[in-house]
Amino acid sequence: MHIVVCIKQVPDSTHIRVHPVTNTIMRQGVPAIINPYDLFAIEEALRLKDRLGCTVTVITMGPPQAEPALRKALSLGCDDAVLVTDKIFSGADTLATSYVLASAIRMLHKETPVDIVFTGKQTIDGDTAQVGPGIAKRLDMELLTYVSRISQVDLATRRIIVERRAEGGVQVLETRLPALITMLEGSNELRFASTPNMFRAARATVRLWDRTSAGIEDIKLVGLKGSPTVVSRVFGPTPRAEKAKQIPFDPAAPDAAAAALLEQILAESPRVQEELAHRRQPGVRD
C-alpha cells in the first residue's frame, strides 16, 4: 500500500503580525512550520504504516525554503519526500494548487499505485479547506473530510471505514479505496522521532520536481494565471473604542454613587427605563 501525505509550510501564526496599513500578513523574519493540522495527517499515515507496513510519501508545493518541512516529515518516519517547486507555481490559489498537487500525485501513482491521500483539515494561513477536496475531485478519489478516526482498512476488499465528525454527532462512513482523507485536529498525538530516523532525514535527498517532473500539462492552470480567486480587499476588524466612564465614589455615600450609575445607564439607553418600569414589582425598593 502507498500513502501520500500533502503538507504545507506556513508562517508560525503565533509570530505573525498584520501590516497596519495594507492589512497583509508580514512574513519577514517569521519562522516557518508545518501547518499544524497536517501533523495529524502525517501521524495517521504513519500509524497505518505501523499497522499495515505501507510506504508513506510526503509531498508539498512551495518554494525551495519548504524543504525543512519535508525533512521534518521524513524524521518522523515518512519514507520519501517530494518538493514540487517551480517559479510558475507562485501566486497559486486553492484551484491552481490542487491542480499541481493532483498532477504530482498522478506521477507518484505511476511509480507506485496510491491508495490513500492524506491532508490536514485546512491550513492555518488560508483556512479554506479546499485543496484536499480539490485533489480528490481531480483524481476521482473518494473524499472523506474531517475524519477523526480510521477504524478499518481492508486491503483485500479495498474498503475503508472511518469516523467523521459532523454537526451533532459522529458519522461512521464506509467507502472504497483509493480515498482522500482530511484529518481532524486532535485525532492523534504526534510521535517523537527516533535517533536513527533523525539521521535518515538529515541525510535523505528530498526530490525536487519542476513542472515537467510533476507532469503539468497546461501551464495556464498553475500559479497566478491559473488562480481565479481575487482578493479584492483585506481588512481587520474595526477596533471598538468604548471608553469606560468613571463615577466618583465616596465610601460614606454609596447610595449617591449607585444613583449616579443608574442615571448614567438610563441616559445611555432609554429603553432600559421602559423595561424596568414594566418589571417593577411590589416590595422592590425604588
Binding site: 523574519g29 525543512p68 517523537f192 522521532a193 527516533s194 535517533t195 536513527p196 533523525m198 541525510r203
Partner: protein
C-alpha cells in the same frame, strides 16, 4: 545507533561551527548536534563580528556572509542621569577594505555559518538535545547520548560547544553549574528604522556603521554596560549586568532596558523605530579565574560553555570561534599523527590557548570583575563626578575658570578623599594590567 564518528560537536553557535567547519574541511567525519529547531535558534548576540577570528577559519567569508555594516566609529559614553561624557574614535582607515569589524544579525549569520559547515561535509542535525556523555570503563569519553529513542552515538572525541548553560558539561561533572556572580544577564531589542534615518542619525553613508558602548548611571549601580549598534535598517540596543547584582537589587532586565531607552541622549536616536525582536541571554563573565578544566580524555570545551568571554572589551564570539578552531586543529594534528585524544595529548589545546590572544587577554583582565564588584565607585561615583565636572566647566556663568577647577577638584575629594582617588587609580591600573 551503531555508526561512529571521528568527532561529535555539541552545539551550533560560533564556537561549535568554527570547530565543526575546521574538522570537516580537514576531511574528518564530523557530526554536529544542535538542541534548537535550526542552527542559531538559541543564539543571541549584540552583535559585532570580528573579522580576524572568522578570516582564520573562512578566509573569503566576506564574499557570502550576511554582514550589516562595517564599523568605522566607536563611541564610549559615560552616562549620568541627564548627560554623558564621551569619547569617539572615527577613522577613514576603518572605511577601507578589508574591514576589521562588522555589525551582524545573528539569525542570518548563524544560518550562513551552518550552511558553510554543511558544505564542508559535516552532518548537522537539529532538535537533538545531548543529555549525557558516554564513557568507557576507563572513564574516557566515547560519545554522547541524545534525548531520543536509540540515542547513543559514538565518536573518538567530543567537543562541548553547547553554550553558557552547557547542560552536558554541568551534568557530566566537567564544570560547575553557573554562578550568579559569574554571569551577566543581557537583554536586547532590535529596533527597525528606515535606512536613511539610521544613516542620518549616525552620520553614516554606504555600508559604514557606528558602535556605541555605554556605561555609568544606566546600569543603576550594578556591574554592567549597555550598547547601541547600527545595522542596515535597524538598531540593536541592549544592556547587560551581573546576574547577582540584578538579583540583589531586584531589577528586571526589561525595566532596565526601558529606562536606558528613555535616557535623553538615547531616546532621540531610537525615536520612531519599531521594536520587532526582543531577546535575552546569559553571558559568562567570570573571566580567567572562572575557567574550568578545558579538556580531558576524549573531550574538549570551547566558547561560552568554558566561559571564554572578554567582558571588558565585549568580545565573545571571536574567542568562541578561536577556541573552536584551536580545539579542532588540536584534534586534526592528533589524528594525522595517529595519536589518541587522551587528556595528555589534548594538553596541546591548552598550550595553543595560552599562546593566543584568548588566554593573554583573559589573564590581563583577571581581576577586573572583582575590582568592579567591590569598588562600586567606578560605576556610580566616577561617572557622576565626570559629568558634573564637564557641566561645571562648560557652563559659562561669570565664574572664573580657576575657581571652577577648584570646585571640581573639591567635588572629587569630597566624594572619594585624596587617598581614595589615589587608591582608585592604583586599583584600576592593577585590574587591567
Amino acid at each position: 545507533m551503531s555508526e561512529k564518528f571521528d568527532v561529535i560537536v555539541v552545539g551550533a553557535g560560533p564556537s561549535g561551527n568554527a570547530a565543526a567547519y575546521t574538522l570537516a574541511k580537514a576531511g574528518l567525519k564530523v557530526l554536529q548536534l544542535e538542541r534548537g529547531e535550526y542552527p542559531g535558534s538559541k543564539n543571541v548576540q549584540g552583535a559585532i563580528l570580528y573579522a580576524d577570528a572568522l578570516e582564520r577559519i573562512i578566509p573569503d567569508f566576506r564574499d557570502s556572509a550576511p554582514l550589516e555594516r562595517h564599523v568605522i566609529e566607536q563611541r564610549m559614553w559615560v552616562m549620568d542621569e541627564r548627560s554623558f561624557v564621551g569619547g569617539h574614535y572615527r577613522s577613514e582607515d576603518f572605511n577601507k577594505e578589508p574591514y576589521n569589524r562588522y555589525t551582524i544579525i545573528r539569525a542570518r549569520f548563524d544560518k550562513w555559518f551552518s550552511d558553510q559547515v554543511q558544505k564542508a561535509g559535516a552532518l548537522v542535525i537539529c532538535e537533538m538535545t545531548v543529555k549525557a556523555l558516554l564513557r568507557n570503563e576507563q572513564g574516557h569519553v566515547i560519545g554522547v547520548e541524545v534525548e531520543r529513542e536509540d540515542g547513543k552515538i559514538y565518536a573518538d572525541a567530543v567537543i562541548l560547544a553547547d553554550g553558557v548553560n552547557s547542560l552536558v558539561a554541568t551534568q557530566g561533572g566537567l564544570r560547575q553549574d553557573i554562578q550568579a556572580s559569574n554571569v551577566a544577564l543581557a537583554v536586547k531589542e532590535m529596533i527597525f528604522l528606515p535606512r536613511e534615518t539610521v544613516e542620518a542619525r549616525f552620520n553614516l553613508s554606504g555600508q559604514a556603521g557606528v558602535v556605541i558602548e555605554l556605561m555609568g548611571s544606566i546600569s543603576e549601580g550594578m556591574v554592567g554596560t549597555g550598547f547601541l549598534y547600527t545595522n542596515k535598517d535597524s538598531l540593536a540596543i541592549g544592556i547587560g549586568c551581573m546576574l547577582s547584582d540584578m538579583k540583589a537589587q531586584r531589577t528586571t532586565p526589561t525595566e532596565l532596558l526601558e529606562r536606558m531607552k528613555a535616557h535623553p541622549a538615547i531616546a532621540p536616536l531610537i525615536a520612531g523605530g519599531e521594536t520587532r525582536e526582543y531577546a535575552a541571554h546569559l553571558i559568562p563573565e567570570g573571566g580567567y579565574k572562572a575557567l574550568p578544566q578545558l579538556y580531558g580524555d576524549g573531550w574538549l570545551m570551547v566558547g561560552d560553555s568554558a566561559g571564554f568571554v572578554n567582558a571588558v572589551h565585549r568580545e565573545g564570539s571571536n574567542l568562541a570561534m578561536t577556541t573552536g578552531r584551536l580545539a579542532a586543529e588540536t584534534l586534526i594534528e592528533l589524528f594525522q599523527n595517529g595519536n589518541e585524544p587522551s587528556a595528555a595529548n589534548l594538553a596541546r589545546y591548552k598550550a595553543k590557548l595560552d599562546d593566543s590572544f584568548v588566554m593573554k587577554d583573559l589573564k590581563k583582565y583577571r581581576n577586573i570583575t572583582d575590582t568592579l564588584d567591590k569598588q562600586r565607585q567606578f560605576i556610580g561615583d566616577y561617572p557622576n563626578l565626570l559629568n558634573q565636572a564637564a557641566h561645571t566647566f562648560l557652563t559659562v556663568d561669570g565664574q572664573d575658570k580657576q575657581s571652577k577647577e577648584k570646585e571640581i577638584m573639591a567635588a572629587f575629594r569630597e566624594r572619594r578623599s585624596l587617598f581614595g582617588l589615589l587608591g582608585d587609580a592604583y586599583r584600576l591600573w592593577r585590574a587591567t594590567r
